[in-house]
Symmetry: C3
C-alpha cells in the first residue's frame, strides 16, 4: 500500500513539473513596446557588399515605418572601413540616401578611414558629416543611451 | 656631481614610468560578474548560412549554462531578413529550436520580412511569435535595458 | 475672393511645411561628445578571417587615438568560436597583440570554446585571460554599462 502511495506521489510530482515546464515555455509573448516619446539609433556599416548596403538602407526605411516607432525615431548612420563606399558619388546609392536624408536620417563618416585610404571629401556626397573615428562614435553614442544596430 | 645627480634622477623617473606602464598592462583581470537576479538578452539572426544558424543556437545553449547566468537569463531570439530560414518547417532546425523553447527561449520573427518575401505563417513553426519589425525590436529592447547579442 | 484666400492659405501652409521638412533634414550635425572621465568598451571577435582579425586590432588602435576618448578608454577584447585563432601562438598576431596589451588592452577568451575545440591553454599566449563563456561576458558587460563593439 505504501509503495502504491509513493508511486502515486511520484507520478503527481512529475505531472506538475511537466505542466510547469510547459507553462514556462509558453508564457504569453509581448513584442517590445515604445513608452518613450523619442528614440535615437546609430546604424553601423563597415562593409561594401552591395547586398549589405541596400539591406541597411531598406532596414532603416522599415524601422521608420514600424508603428511602434513612427515619428519618434532619430537615426544616424556611421560608415567606416569598407562602408565608405556607400557615400561615394561614383557608386549608385545617391537616390536611396537622399530619400532617407529627406526623412531626417543623418549620415556620418569616419575621418580616420578617409585618411588611411587617402579619400578626398569631394569624392563623397556633400551631405555626409565627419566624426574623428567610427568606433569612437559607436562607443560614445552607447554611453549617451542610444540604441545601436549593426545589421 | 650635479650632472650625475640629474642622470640618476632621470634613470629613476624612467624606471618608475616603465614599472607603472607594466603594471597598467598587467592589472588583475576579473571576468564580468552577475550581481543581478535577472537578465534579459535579445539574440539577432539575419543570415541563412547553416553554420551561422547552428552557431547562434549553440551559443544560446552555452550562455544558458554559463555559471554566472544559470537560472537568471531570459532570452528572446529575433530573426529578420535571411534569418527567417531558421523558422521554416521545410528546414532542419526543428529539434534544436524545440530544445531551446523547452528551456524558456522565445522565438520572434519580423513581420515586415514575411510581407516582403510573401511568406505564409503556415510555413513557419507554430511557436514563432511576430513583431512589427525586427529592427524596431532591436532598438526598443535596448531602451528597455536588455543586452543584445548578434553573433 | 474667399476661394482665393483659401488657396493662398493652402499655399502658405504647404510652403512652410516644405521649409520645415528641409530644416529637419539639414539640422546641424554634432558628433557624439565625451563628457565622462572614463569609458569601457568590449570588443567582440568570433571570426578567424585574417582581414577581420587585423581589422579589429586596427580599429582598437584608432579608437584609442580618437581625440574624444584618448586616455579615457579601457578596452577588453573577447574572442569566442573561430575568434580563438587570434590568440594562437602558431598564428601571426603576436606583435600586434603585445603592442595593444602594452597600451592597457585586456585580452579574454571564452573557456567554452577551448573545451569544445579541445584547445590547450598552452597553445595560446600567456597574457590571455579566460571567462566562462564569451556570450555571458557580452551580456554581463552590457549590464555593467559598457559599450560593445563587434566590427
Amino acid at each position: 500500500m505504501k509503495k502504491l502511495q509513493a508511486l502515486l506521489i511520484a507520478v503527481l510530482c512529475f505531472t506538475s513539473i511537466s505542466i510547469f515546464a510547459q507553462q514556462k515555455a509558453d508564457t504569453v509573448f509581448e513584442p517590445a513596446k515604445a513608452y518613450k516619446k523619442h528614440y535615437n539609433a546609430l546604424y553601423i556599416l563597415n562593409e561594401a557588399d552591395d547586398k549589405k548596403v541596400r539591406g541597411i538602407l531598406r532596414n532603416i526605411n522599415n524601422v521608420l515605418n514600424d508603428p511602434r516607432l513612427k515619428g519618434k525615431l532619430h537615426i544616424e548612420v556611421i560608415a567606416f572601413s569598407d562602408g565608405v563606399e556607400m557615400y561615394k558619388k561614383a557608386n549608385s546609392y545617391q537616390e536611396l540616401l537622399i530619400a532617407l536624408k529627406d526623412k531626417g536620417v543623418v549620415f556620418a563618416q569616419c575621418a580616420k578611414t578617409m585618411e588611411e585610404r587617402k579619400i578626398d571629401k569631394n569624392e563623397l556626397f556633400d551631405f555626409v558629416h565627419y566624426v574623428p573615428s567610427g568606433n569612437g562614435e559607436i562607443i560614445l553614442r552607447q554611453y549617451e543611451g542610444w540604441a545601436v544596430v549593426h545589421p
